[in-house]
Amino acid sequence: MKLRSFSLHLYGESSEFWSARFGAIPVEPPFKMHYTSQVSPELNQLPGAQPARKDLAQAPETALEKSESDLVAAAKAGNNEAFDELVNRYEKKIYRLALRLTGNTEDAEDVLQETFLKAFEHLPDFRQDSRFYTWLVRIAVNEGLMKLRKRRSDKSEPLEDAVDDEGQVMPREFRDWKPNPEQQMSQEEMEQILLNAAQSLPASLRAVFFLRDVEELSTEETAEMLNLTTGAVKARLFRARLQLREELSKVFKESKP
């Protein structure tokens, strides 16, 4: 029942509702593209989808990565300065991930510290068959989800298991956004809006979105990290993107339809 009510709450409109709505969509050939600066020129030149993110997972090994291997080897051999260098390299990214995931600075700082302290402690177990950063992300996500589970037990966090991977997700808001919303407000305002929207997602959707779209992990890496099937990762990523879009549309949509 929980699954059902979650789905209904978000996108529970009947098929009659959607057919009525789609029937009302104005289609005027030839379609006049309404371009704003919010999409890249490449995307506006359909056909030819440009991924919204670079897929670094596919990047060839670089000098930077080789240097990372050297640092990890030195740190494993007991060189704390080498470990410090690894911390310096990734601390900002891990903090950002932790803050986006937990939604508050206090928990983010705890997750940051626990991530690097555990990484130091378990460094002898790191087999270097993945990137050091991916290993850090795995620790950070585990720590972050533990924080969220604890919060859930305090009854303030949406239930993780209320995610229905089979249910259909449909958009409700069709109004375009104001151009460049990030230029129309302070950085602090924008950060708060993004955090609030992310917090509206169940934790497991949030984790999938940040791992795939922000940390740029592959579907397989994300699935393995969150103990999900690749199908569930794809379904949750789709759901997370659309739900974030609905939440952010409330803030960024044009005032006139």
Binding site: F22, V39, A49, P51, R53, W177, M190
Partner: protein, 79 residues
């Protein structure tokens, strides 16, 4: 392609996971349907906003406390 079908494919399209022929069908639909184009553009924008590397900077004090905690850990290990 109906709007309902298009919505289900937008995420795959953004990830470059759609087969070439299906991609063209979706692109044709996006060129004709203003509502689906808005959904596509704003979904793409969501990803862009969250990927903005300037947002969520780590405060200096947070960094200082992290490195203090690490120093303590190094000392514990050395004992």
């Amino acid at each position: 392609m109906t709007c309902k079908e298009a919505f289900q494919e937008i995420s795959k399209y953004l990830d470059g996971e759609l087969a070439e022929d299906f991609k063209h069908i979706l692109e044709e639909h996006l060129c004709k349907c203003a509502h689906c184009k808005v959904v596509f553009d704003t979904t793409h924008k969501v990803i862009e906003l969250y990927c903005d590397g300037k947002l969520f900077p780590m405060p200096d004090l947070v960094r200082t406390r992290l490195h203090e905690a690490l120093r303590r850990k190094y000392r514990e290990k050395a004992l």
